[in-house]
Subunit: 216 residues, 2 copies
C-alpha cells in the first residue's frame, strides 16, 4: 500500500491554496530508504541518511510519513514485484527447463539486494507484524510463487504427481538462497541454483535424479 493520495502522514488534507506537494519526490525518498536499509539495517539507518541521500529535507520526509517505522514499511511494500513478471514465465515444455530458465544473473543480483534488506529488517520482524507481512509479500513470496506456478503447470500436463508437496517445495529455493547468503555467507551462483534443481527439487517430485547431461 502506498501513502494516501490527498493526505499526509498526519492526516492533513490537500491545501485549497498554495503550492501542492511534489509527489515526484516520494519515489526518490523511498529508493534512498531502501538503499540505506540494505547498507546499514533498520537500526543503523537514520532519517538524516535517507534525507541527504534523496537530497531532501527531513521536514519533507516527516510531512509524508509520521515516523521512521512507517517510512520503512512503505519503502518495503512499494518494492513489491519490482523484478518479477508473473505473466511472462518461461514455458519450455519440461519442469527442469522452466526452472533452469528462471535463473538469470539479473534476478540473482536483484535478489541479493533484497536479501540485504531482509537481513536488516530481521530483528524487527518479530516485533512488527505489519512490517513482517510487507517484507514477506515483497521479498519472499514472489520468488516462491514462480516455482509454485511452474510446478502446478507440470502437474497439469501430467509431468509430475499431484501428490507432490508443491507448497513446501516452492519455498526450497528462496529458503536456501537466503540461508546461503545471509547465514553461511557463501556466494549464490548459477551452479548452486542448478544443484538445488537437479539434486533436490526434481528428485523430490519423482523425476529421478538424472545426471544432468548438458541439458541446461
Amino acid at each position: 500500500m502506498t501513502q494516501l493520495d490527498h493526505t499526509d502522514a498526519t492526516g492533513e488534507q490537500t491545501p485549497k491554496l498554495g503550492r501542492k506537494r511534489d509527489h515526484t519526490r516520494d519515489a526518490d525518498i523511498l529508493d534512498a530508504a531502501l538503499e540505506v536499509l540494505a547498507e546499514t539495517g533498520y537500526d543503523g539507518m537514520t532519517i538524516d541518511m535517507v534525507a541527504s541521500r534523496a537530497k531532501a529535507g527531513k521536514g519533507t520526509l516527516y510531512r509524508r510519513w509520521a515516523s521512521k517505522g512507517e517510512l520503512v514499511i512503505d519503502a518495503v511494500a512499494c518494492m513489491k514485484n519490482s523484478d518479477i513478471d508473473l505473466s511472462r514465465l518461461p514455458d519450455t515444455g519440461t519442469l527442469r527447463g522452466d526452472l533452469i530458465a528462471t535463473i538469470k544473473s539479473r534476478s540473482i543480483e536483484d535478489g541479493e539486494k533484497k536479501l540485504q534488506i531482509m537481513a536488516g529488517l530481521a530483528s524487527m520482524l518479530s516485533r512488527d507484524p505489519e512490517l513482517a507481512e510487507a517484507a514477506n509479500a515483497a521479498i519472499v513470496e514472489p520468488r516462491a510463487t514462480v516455482h509454485r506456478m511452474l510446478m502446478l503447470r507440470a502437474v497439469d500436463r501430467g509431468e509430475i504427481s499431484a501428490d507432490s508437496d508443491i507448497e513446501t517445495l516452492s519455498h526450497i529455493t528462496p529458503s536456501m538462497v537466503a540461508y546461503r547468503s545471509l547465514i553461511q555467507r557463501k556466494t549464490v551462483d548459477r551452479a548452486f541454483l542448478v544443484s538445488l534443481i537437479d539434486g533436490v527439487l526434481l528428485p523430490a517430485v519423482g523425476l529421478a535424479h538424472q545426471v544432468p547431461s548438458r541439458v541446461g
Copy 2:
C-alpha cells in the same frame, strides 16, 4: 586510558593481593545476554538490561568484556553445542527412522530460541565476520551436522547412493526451519519437520516418496 592496573577486560591478570574475580558470575551474565539478545536483538539490547537481568553491576561486565560487541560475541560463542550431542545420534537402522528420531520437542524449543538470537544478530552479520562465524558455528552448523552424519551413515550401509548431494541436503532442514520461523512466521512443529523428511529429503536421495504408513 583504563583505570585498572592489574586486571582489565582485554588482558586479565590475577591480582597478587585482595579479592579474586568471581568467575561464577560469568555464566549468569552470558546467559542474561543471550536472553536479552533473543528478546530485543543486538541493537535493542542494552548493557543495563543485561546487568540488571544478571543482578550484576555494569562495572562487573566492563571488567570482563571491553565492549558490548565483545560480550555478544562471547555469549554467542559460549552457547555452542549446548543442546546437541553428536556422540549420541539415533541409530534405528534406516535413514528415515534416524531423521524422525532427531525430532524432539525440546530440540524444537531450543532451536526457536537460537533462531530468535540469529534474527537479532542478522543485521550485524554482514559487518562483523567474527560474529558471523561464531553464530554460524554455534547455531547453524550443529543442526546441519546431525543430518550430514546420518546421511553419510546411510551411504556407508548402502541405503542411499554416494552421488547424493549430502552437503546441500544436510542444510535443507535448518534452512527451512529458519525460513518458516523467521520469515513466514509459521509454527515449526513435528508435522512440518516430518513433511520435510518424507516430501523432500528422502525422495531427493532416491528413497521413493512412500506414503508414510505409521512408521514414524
